[in-house]
Amino acid sequence: MTDRTTIDRTSHLELEHHEKTFLDSNELIINMGPQHPATHGVLRVILKLDGEKVLGTECVIGYLHRGVEKIAEHRTYTMFNPYVDRMDYVAAVSNGLGYCEAVEKLLNVEAPRRAQYIRVVLTELNRLASHMLWLGTHALDIGAITPLFYTFRDREEILKIFEKYCGARLTTHAFRIGGCSYETYDGFEREVKKFLDFVTPKIDEYEELLTTNRIWVERTKDVGKISAKECIALGVTGPVLRASGVKWDLRKAQPYAAYPDFDFEIPVGQNGDTYDRYIVRMQEMRQSLRIIDQAIGKIPDGPIMAKIPKVMKPPVGEIYHSIEAPKGELGYFIVSDGSTQPYRVRVRPPSFVNLQALDMMVRGALVADVIAVIGTLDIVLGEVDR
């Protein structure tokens, strides 16, 4: 993608609009980003505008490229583990879970039950944190500044739990191949339960501010519509897909970790517009709370690490394992040549794939909608660029 854009960034934009528009010579080409308050990092969107109307977009990415996949080829399986935290840095726990489970599958080991329960609790907490951050920034983009501070206040509690558990707040590196790095600290269950009681009314508070807010509904209803068919064609996953009415969640479709043990629902929207995505994510936050509530009560006793060799040499072969990250399907494709280092690691990041839908969603909309749609896609540039 980057290559193509360096050659000719706007040619395909020109081709698709033969019809004459208002003051043709004054079509504006605007560079939104990489330094822009609403592009969630360093996304650069080239907008072709007719007044306020968007005629086409082109995403230029790679400003945060660190070559994570290449780095993997020169690290042992264990050494690469912390790197995945740096991809989707607001959902580092999910990244770690996906990688660890993929390698475990390659090694043919399974993490002990206790470790899997801890994993579920932490991953769902992380999903909450990610959705909270999304809600705050998305609302900020649309102009509501207050929800940002509310969500950050509550996300802080989650980060405190992470910090107590593993010492890090953002790039947690909470799991190890074969289990968890750390045993839970004293009072872990009590604190998580306290957090659940604390956060449940808070989610109502966010909804009170936004769900029936006239301006919020007008700004999000019928904005950035995408149908289920288009979603599937583009490979869009996660809440964006579910808001279009497809009941697809890897936690149910291909259960992993301890998810089969829990009872939860997959929230689904109908219209596939920004408002539905908002509702779906809000519902998902409640479902996450439900899962945590079930899991935290019955964390089994036992070891937290499976028996894995000190020097990891997976058998020759390849594996694709994907999990439901907060933003969609996060997949790891790992090829092993039998040595201590992976031959190739390919990450299927949800943000990168979802970002493809941007152009389709904003064609013919207004500039303000581009901001709303970038927000609703919930991209993290660390993950898009890797």
Binding site: K20, T21, F22, L23, N26
Partner: protein, 169 residues
């Protein structure tokens, strides 16, 4: 209100008005012209105030400076002016323009000399505090029909402008 320093303000304002009118027709950049025109219009509004016509002055500010000039600036921004700035700004008719100006000036002088009696140097005392009320009485009394026609004219202008500027209807 007792007028203060009428002579000074008259000469100051009329100099401002006329000089900015000169700038309007000589500036290369259309935005600069518009800026000068705004100054000229505001100067005229002040002159209206000196002529005890506060309502006209208010209308001048709110409609001309606040409405029409915004429209002008809006259109200048829409049309590509960099190109038009590189072109020659004046056409070949400057001779005609000069002749017209001289002829008009001569006409004005002539009219003044011949029709001096038409300008009695008296002024009726205008009650400034009730100017708006009196204008309103005239506007909705004697000139009611004209007023309605003016509103019709505005309606036609709205429709005309929309038809002209819209891409397709």
């Amino acid at each position: 209100m007792a007028p203060v320093a009428t002579t000074f303000f008259f000469y100051f304002l009329s100099a401002l008005t006329v000089l900015s009118a000169v700038l309007v027709i000589t500036r290369k950049n259309a935005v600069h012209s518009a800026l000068a025109l705004i100054v000229s219009l505001l100067g005229q509004a002040a002159l209206y105030l000196m002529l005890y016509a506060p309502f006209v002055a208010g209308v001048q500010i709110i409609l001309y400076a606040g409405g029409i000039m915004v429209l002008f600036l809006f259109v200048i921004m829409l049309v590509n002016i960099e190109k038009s700035q590189r072109e020659d700004q004046f056409n070949k008719q400057w001779l005609v323009g000069l002749a017209a100006a001289i002829a008009l000036g001569a006409l004005f002088v002539l009219v003044y000399v011949k029709g001096r009696a038409l300008f009695p140097d008296r002024a009726i005392q205008m009650p400034e505090q009730s100017n708006t009320q009196q204008v309103a009485v005239l506007l909705y009394g004697n000139y009611m029909f004209t007023f309605e026609i003016a509103s019709l004219l505005l309606l036609v202008a709205i429709i005309g402008a929309v038809v002209m500027a819209k891409k397709r209807i």
